[in-house]
């Protein structure tokens, strides 16, 4: 198994619930940690050992949004190599461009289609990122 621990940073509890359900059904062995905003996530990451091998990051969040978090992580030598996938309701090309330029590896727009979500997650977890 490529990933043992992944981190989802999202302030939306419903989305966390659905995401975790989907991960469980795709790969039951993966531990999915969650954080409600960028700030919490950053604290969690600093303490974590080993660090999660993949981060799903929502953009629109209170306290510290996804953009700020992304920039902060990329400045941290220990954390900067963790692949970050943007996971958001936005389908704005601008958001996509900005985050990819800031070092995100993928831009994944949230889908209401649970089956499609599982398929996408399956693909992502297989990939070398």
């Amino acid at each position: 198994m490529k990933h043992k621990t992944i981190l989802l940073i999202d302030d939306d509890e419903d989305d966390q619930l659905i995401f975790i359900d989907a991960i469980k059904e795709v790969h039951a062995g993966i531990v999915c940690l969650t954080a409600d905003n960028g700030s919490d996530a950053y604290l969690q990451l600093e303490k974590s050992s080993p660090a999660p091998s993949l981060i799903f990051l929502d953009l629109n969040m209170p306290v510290m949004n996804g953009f700020e978090f992304l920039q902060r992580v990329k400045k941290n030598d220990r954390l900067k190599n963790i692949p970050i996938i943007i996971y958001t309701t936005s389908d704005s090309p601008l958001d996509k461009q900005n985050t990819i330029e800031s070092g995100a590896v993928m831009f994944f727009t949230k889908t209401p289609d649970f089956k499609l979500l599982k398929i996408k997650l399956h693909d992502i977890l297989q990939k070398d990122l």
């Binding site: 419903d14 659905i18 359900d21 309701t89 949230k110 649970f114 089956k115």
Partner: protein, 684 residues
């Protein structure tokens, strides 16, 4: 030889001198009456002349007579001449005496003389004759008296007329010169004898009176102008006859109502007596009429000034002293005009000195005329009078004066205040509207965005439930869940379109020169799935590079292409063609077309179900749908967005449809302004 010749010559001179002495002695003897007869050698013939008798005194008198005295024989031979005559002829005595008188008569006068002489022989005769000596002609007057029976000869007295003739000639020349001047003069010239007889008038007078000279000359003034008898004209003439030089005042002629000013000069003869009066009349009618017109126009001005409904004042520029104000001024300024005239505006306390000086300066700088200068006055009541003045500077008897017209600005100011107030209200409303628009835009953006979240959750959990219950749920339950999903999907689209539409209002208007083919390709990619599903065929021509907001135009192409695919004819492969050309705004019959522009006309035609031409305008309206939701899904916002996008680009969109045949959507994007126009096209 020479000595001999000189001797001969001296001898000859001596002889001649002796003969001359003899002749002189003889002449003296004749003059003295000492000789009664003498013989003269003439033409080698000796002739004897006898002097019958002679009174010494008489001879002396005749000899010294101031005129020529001759005695002519019947043959015309000069038997006696006094010294005056031969001196007149500039000949010596002996060259005249004993010669024929006929030899000294001018050939032209020979006949006259012959007649005179014959008459003289018979009794008496008088007449003018020209003598002729050498080359000189001497006019003379001859008076002949027969001396018979005393003597068979004629006594002739000759008076030299040379000087008289010369004087006469000179006078004649002078007279004709003066006459020419008088005749050709435009002045009216008449000469009256002291008994009022008209002696002469010139042409100007003839035409002035409308009478001809002939019948007038010789008639008396009173006879010619009975209407003037006893008038100044007659009295003025009388004064001149008494020796006075008269210049009369111009008075209108009784005959033609023209004004004549007369200069009457007494004419005197050599003795200083007045024998006539020369009247020179100067026609001053035009001057008089001009003066009268001026007077009338002045009167009219005074009248106009006083009754004018416009308040006016006339004042001196130097000290502001009021020369006149009219009644309208009095009403406007709450003054009795009589209290104001002669005082200046400072004195009546309606204006201050500096203000007036500034005004006068302004008037002078503007070349004597100022229009529409705002001017305020304090009235006796304390009220402030706002006026709008027009000032003309005029010269009155050499003094710079100001004619000022005042217009009360009260009404205008009130009207202006109303307009200002209305403008202020309008501005406020505009501001409110702008705020409302901004609020609405942000509201719709936020609302749409936040509406999407719960909707997504409904979709997500419905899907999750369907997924969990895939094996347990009856088809009925699955159908209901699918209906929930379908409804939320429609609502999601609606919100998404609304969001798009509201973004069109305040999205960044960033224009970039863009290849439209690239944008069509992007739109095509967005619709990849649907194009694949329907096997739609796109034929895309060469499109221009245009300054556009790229993502908006992409959206526009997406919407139109999606429409073309959505409204395809069942069972037929959708075919879509996109082409472009340049058209002149002037050739377009659309209200939205700007005549100053050239447009890229981009046509997107399809072979779909088309629509009734009557709906061509309606389809661009928000939420307007030609078909039921169940027939064709859609929000009714797509084409409204397209219209909005074209507006953002200062262009417009048109649709043509034929039911069952297809539709053509045409975009008109401004290309550039006509060459002939200036670049003020940004006025929209």
């Amino acid at each position: 030889m020479e000595a001999q010749a000189e001797k001969d010559l001296l001898q000859r001179i001596e002889e001649l001198e002796n003969r001359l002495a003899e002749s002189e002695q003889l002449i003296e003897a004749i003059k003295a009456g000492e000789v009664d007869a003498f013989a003269l050698n003439k033409n080698n013939q000796q002739e004897i002349f006898t002097l019958q008798s002679g009174d010494f005194a008489y001879r002396v008198l005749v000899e010294n007579f101031g005129e020529g005295a001759l005695n002519l024989a019947e043959s015309g031979l000069i038997v006696y001449t006094n010294s005056y005559f031969h001196t007149l002829l500039k000949l010596p005595y002996e060259s005249v005496i004993a010669n024929s008188m006929f030899d000294f008569i001018h050939p032209d006068s020979k006949e006259t003389f012959q007649n005179l002489f014959q008459a003289g022989l018979a009794g008496k005769s008088k007449g003018e004759v020209n003598l002729f000596v050498g080359s000189a002609t001497i006019p003379v007057y001859m008076s002949m008296t027969s001396l018979q029976p005393l003597l068979p000869s004629v006594g002739v007295i000759i008076t030299d007329l040379t000087e008289k003739k010369a004087r006469e000639r000179e006078m004649g020349e002078k007279n004709s010169f003066i006459e020419t001047i008088i005749e050709s003069s435009n002045e009216l010239i008449a000469v009256y004898a002291t008994d009022f007889t008209l002696l002469s008038i010139n042409k100007a007078t003839e035409s002035f009176l409308g009478m001809s000279k002939g019948p007038m000359i010789g008639k008396k003034f009173q006879e010619l102008f009975p209407g003037l008898t006893g008038t100044r004209a007659e009295k003025d003439l009388e004064k001149a006859f008494k020796g006075e030089f008269v210049v009369n005042e111009a008075y209108p002629s009784l005959y033609n109502q023209r004004y004549v000013q007369n200069y009457i000069t007494p004419l005197r003869n050599d003795r200083g007596e007045v024998y006539a009066a020369l009247a020179i009349g100067h026609d001053v009618t035009d001057i008089k009429r001009a003066e009268e017109d001026l007077k009338k126009s002045q009167q009219r001005f005074v009248k106009l000034f006083s009754v004018s409904p416009v308040a006016m004042s006339l004042s001196r520029a130097s000290d502001g002293k009021v020369i006149d104000v009219n009644n309208a001024w009095g009403r406007m300024f709450e003054f009795d005009p009589l209290d104001v005239i002669g005082r200046n505006t400072e004195a009546i306390n309606i204006s201050n000195l500096n203000e007036r000086k500034a005004k006068v300066q302004q008037i002078q700088e503007s070349g004597g005329s100022v229009k529409g200068m705002e001017s305020n006055f304090v009235l006796p009541s304390g009220n402030v009078l706002h006026t709008f003045v027009s000032v003309e500077s005029i010269d009155l008897d050499g003094e710079l004066c100001l004619l000022t017209a005042y217009f009360d600005l009260k009404e205008r100011i009130e009207a202006e205040n109303i307009i200002k107030q209305k403008n202020r209200l309008l501005e406020e409303k505009n501001l409110q509207l702008e705020q409302t628009n901004t609020e609405l835009a942000s509201f719709s953006f936020v609302a749409s965005h936040d509406l999407q979240e719960p909707l997504r959750k409904i979709q997500t959990f419905s899907n999750r439930i369907l997924d969990l219950g895939e094996n347990e749920f009856s088809n009925e339950i699955k159908d209901y869940f699918n209906r929930i999903l379908s409804a939320t999907s429609r609502m999601k689209n609606l919100i998404s379109d609304l969001l798009n539409y509201s973004r069109m209002n305040n999205a960044e208007m960033k224009f970039e020169l863009t290849d439209l083919n690239g944008l069509v390709t992007e739109a095509k990619n967005n619709l990849e799935e649907r194009i694949a599903e329907t096997n739609a065929q796109l034929e895309i021509g060469q499109l221009p590079r245009v300054k556009v907001i790229p993502h908006q135009i992409t959206q526009l192409f997406s919407n139109i292409l999606a429409n073309a695919i959505k409204y395809r004819k069942p069972g037929e492969i959708p075919k879509i063609a996109i082409s472009s050309e340049i058209v002149d705004g002037r050739s377009l019959r659309y209200f939205a077309a700007d005549q100053n522009f050239e447009y890229h006309k981009i046509s997107i035609s399809d072979n779909g179900i088309g629509f009734e031409p009557m709906h061509a305008g309606r389809i661009f309206e928000m939420f307007q749908r030609l078909h039921g939701v169940n027939q064709y899904e859609g929000t009714g916002i797509g084409l409204a967005i397209c219209k909005k996008i074209m507006l953002n680009h200062r262009g417009f969109i048109q649709a043509e449809g034929t039911l069952g045949v297809g539709a053509v959507f045409t975009l008109y994007l401004p290309a550039h302004v006509h060459e002939t126009q200036d670049h003020s096209s940004d006025r929209r």
